[in-house]
Subunit: 270 residues, 4 copies
């Protein structure tokens, strides 16, 4: 089916400091949609650390549908992420939006996130092939699995073997959830490749109460970890408040995932 695929020269297990992504240990990436303030990101980071997370997420450059929406703090946001890393020891994942910003973001990030809307931004993908930093490539919200894997090949074939995939939901006719999380795709990608795959149930559902059950489903189906939005106070979030977990929700989620992980012969490091 995917006969055009030639993935090779890639890494099966991606190392980010002492965190290994793609093996028996599941990785937990968590944090707010966007870096909003020093207080917010530091508080979120402490909570993520305390509950067993390894990677802190937070956007400094935000891709927003409307030009009139909050666009992120830019370099100031990157500096705050670096401060949170120094305090907690968490690694940092943050999005790069444009090829002109790559060098800047790469100075701060431990993992470079490529968002859904940029999955087929081939100029950017080629440039990502020229750095060594791990890249987490989110699936386009209307991309086929084949297109997704070929986008990964753009990065790998241009020289960067460290690609992590991330399923974050696809666009369908259903409007009751923000997106439709495609767990078929996780199982299929695991059959077709040995790239690590992360599940994003926050964007995949768009609804706080659905994050927990879908995270469990994602781990059961074979994902190597999760990325979830956690905010100290979701009601005041500048973006994605409805899908952000409270700190308490996050604590419960980790407990629940621990049980499911064991049932599928994986484990959490907590």
């Amino acid at each position: 089916m995917l006969k055009d695929l030639k993935v090779k020269n890639h890494k099966q297990i991606i190392e980010v400091g002492d965190v290994k992504i793609g093996g028996d240990e599941l990785v937990i990436m968590a944090g707010p949609c966007a870096v909003e303030s020093r207080e917010q990101i530091l508080e979120a980071a402490e909570h993520v650390k305390a509950n067993g997370g390894q990677i802190l997420r937070g956007g400094a450059f935000k891709p927003r549908t409307s030009p009139y929406s909050f666009q992120g703090l830019g370099e100031e946001g990157l500096k705050l992420l670096a401060e949170a890393r120094e305090r907690t020891g968490l690694k940092i994942i943050t999005e790069v939006l444009d090829s002109e910003d790559l060098e800047l973001v790469d100075n701060y990030a431990d993992i470079l996130q490529i968002g859904s809307r940029n999955m087929q931004n081939y100029g950017l993908l080629k440039k990502l092939g020229k750095v060594d930093t791990p890249v987490m490539l989110k699936r386009g919200y209307a991309a086929t699995v084949k297109e997704w894997l070929l986008s990964a090949e753009y990065v790998i074939s241009h020289g960067n073997p460290n690609v992590i995939l991330c399923e974050r939901g696809i666009r369908t006719f259903e409007t009751a959830t923000r997106n439709t999380l495609d767990l078929n795709a996780i199982a299929l990608v695991k059959e077709l490749t040995d790239l690590p795959v992360i599940i994003d149930p926050s964007h995949g559902t768009g609804k706080r109460s659905l994050v927990n059950p879908l995270a469990k489903a994602g781990i059961s189906v074979g994902a190597d970890g999760i990325i979830v939005e956690v905010h100290p106070n979701p009601e005041e979030a500048l973006c994605d408040g409805e899908q952000s977990l409270t700190p308490n929700d996050f604590t419960s989620l980790i407990d629940d995932l621990d049980k499911v992980a064991k049932a599928v012969d994986k484990r959490l490091i907590i």
Copy 2:
């Protein structure tokens, strides 16, 4: 969101003989796509029984896209299902395609299955309200959750309180899998109603190797059981061979589900 819903007077736990659907015990429904012969259905039934299944599936009236495809054995198929029930003690679920056949099928079935293409066949739904037999209502392959629940309301409001929902995958742009199993919908339906929900990973993926991981995901996300296609010899199946489990696959699946069930505080009866 679903303000039109008025589900009431329905049962939360559906009893089919001594099988209870909707509680802490998961139900396993399994069998071939279609009843093809006496030998085939009896062999499948023995295997389902031996591995802990409670309900035997098998179509006697088949909804086929082409008028030139095998349309099922009709009443002869129903009789063979009844014989399998007598031998094994399994209950029987089978599809009713047309309101004129309802009485006939109802004479044999323990659960009446309404297929995806008939989810909005309102004439049939109204007539199903007039019988007592439990009805398993498959989600239309392009039906929203709201439309699905309103179709359940057709049956319930016309007098039959025994409705079981079944998610079997939706139609999306993705062609690498036959359908896209929508596990968001399982979690959402569990939040909006207390109707039992079954997951069908066979139609939901269309690919044998994906049935196991998606069944585990379905149980993790909150489904009350599974319905899967099992065939003594999938290569010779008259329909859906590529998505049918072999008897050995089925044995492994039950072992794996047992572990996942416990991780989410449910259990299999095996």
Copy 3:
């Protein structure tokens, strides 16, 4: 692509009294969503007749998503349609929902309409093969062109050569319009078969102001006619008011279509 198709023994031009569907003359079908009252249907019929329509539409049995919505007047509605036919000379198209109602509806209708939700109600399709009355088969809102044509084959292969297709919009991710009218499908079907095809811009857009431009597009792309909703007072319609044309809108539409028809070597009979 559609190698399973074996359409044959069908008619290329369907005759409904002296109305011919499928030739150089375009057919205009118009009327309200549902028959609501004697006054309403007679007033609508007079207007359709006066502006050059040939066929009066109006539902007596209505497929409604919710069991609590208006379900149509049933046989009383059929009688009112017959009265409108007698007064105006218009032919009648009306929907049959369930195989048990087929004989009743067939006693009144000049064309039997099969709605989108019933396109794969195979029991009903087979029974339609046993009557002579022309059948207008609406495309399922998530049916591929191939599935649609195979459903037509169910009717034709069971004995009724008089099948008219109707494109009424498909379900996509876009929510700004009720459906997405698929004009690619019209051109494709005309290439693959010689069955007559009608376009329904009312359901295809769900918005009154878009009906006129999409009707023109439909004729330009090769449709053999249109079916549109017209209501004497759309604000008071019991269903589909937002997409119903006023009588004045309908008058303008016919004028505009007349020009477009000539540009593609067809003509209206007005």
Copy 4:
């Protein structure tokens, strides 16, 4: 519905030399998918010119799903387009893929094309706001009309008032055509804004024989012009050969469009 829209300070009629886009005269943009060689692009340009086209299309930087596919001739391709312009007087539209290439492409192009995959490449959109060159913004293959218009607002609100929209088909469940051309969207956009809109029936159908009827439909529904792929020898095209018109097809198309244009009170300049 689109209450976030604030489009203003934009131009309703875009002037490209003496070509006006958005008024009563329809614009014809045509040429090969990619610039492949001097001979190919010059031959195509002569033909486009001879049949009444005003704008020559041709990609120098190509967005390809696979990194192993032909990626375009780059700057060499831009130079060949400039030569074709000098010879024929046609204006040039060509795609800019990455913000780092913007200055280079802008040195050659009369209209900058933003492809479907880059519709939400916000870094690029912001930079397009800083130039004066007209921008043709193709709709993302899974973008809603609202998202499309908000992407136009990125360009306009950052300073460039010259934005042309282009509908090129959306991704749906239908696989018989490459995309589903969404003509509802043309009519809707014309109702919501006064931006010029172009229709691309080549990508919108993916099939040569469907380009003519869908181009006619696009003009009937209100588009301000078309962009079509024409290749001197489609069988040898390095991309999109199946959807490219032969020179003869193109000649016929222009004749047919001329008639349809008059029926909707527009005209071609031929």
